[in-house]
Assembly symmetry: C2
């Protein structure tokens, strides 16, 4: 139940890899494909709410039975979205008795945050007087 999520956490491969971020050097095709899978998983309002409900939960984990009733959607639909979040490496889960508990995988969100953070020293090109402004 805890296998098969994308490899996003390794040091030398996967989404984040070595690269200093989206904003510093052009992504190659492979990196872009891997990263896009994770962002696509975040590109749905239901999945964003699920993720935030799971992440913000005191104790660090949530039972599915606490998630489903918060939405106007069928139980299979919620289960489907949870599966996508898990395959993206954003959450993981475990069955305990009758119930299944989900929790955040913080390494993945950390990595995304880093990828979206621009290097400190970069001095924001001045947008008020464009470089090659037409006469």
């Amino acid at each position: 139940m805890s296998n098969q999520e994308l490899v996003v956490r390794g040091q030398g491969d996967g989404v984040g890899a070595c690269c200093p971020g989206l904003l510093t050097a052009p992504l190659d095709e492979g990196q872009a494909v891997e990263l896009a899978k994770v962002f696509k998983a975040l590109g749905d309002p239901v999945r964003l709410r699920l993720l935030s409900m799971i992440a913000s939960r005191a104790g660090g984990e949530v039972c599915v039975c606490d998630l489903t009733p918060a939405f106007d959607l069928s139980q299979p639909t919620i289960s489907h979205h949870l599966k996508l979040l898990r395959q993206a490496g954003l959450i993981d889960c475990e069955r305990r008795g009758t119930w299944v508990y989900y929790w955040l995988v913080p390494e993945t969100t950390d990595r995304l945050a880093n990828i979206l953070t621009r290097p400190a020293g970069k001095p924001l090109p001045d947008r008020t007087a464009p470089a090659g402004a037409a006469s």
Copy 2:
């Protein structure tokens, strides 16, 4: 040419708004819908590569004529992806003579990075010995 992108930069409204991030408190429906639009724009390999090419460019801007030949895609397709990135508030553009130049809107990526960053003090629930482990 520089209007109509999503409002993502204000202090009191839009995507980021006041909220301390995805990971701290549950998102309400409206916040989730707005945020999802931006993440959805990032959920495609072509758009990710476009964004990184634009963001990492020395000088801060890129001519479309430098972007298109980097892909095995038609010119209308690239134009379409650039439009989506612009509507998400991630980039902006300006026509100068014959050419159109694009640049990053760093406020938007900054905000996403913040949203994905967990509060410093939060002590990572111990995953090695699950709370209510079944006997």
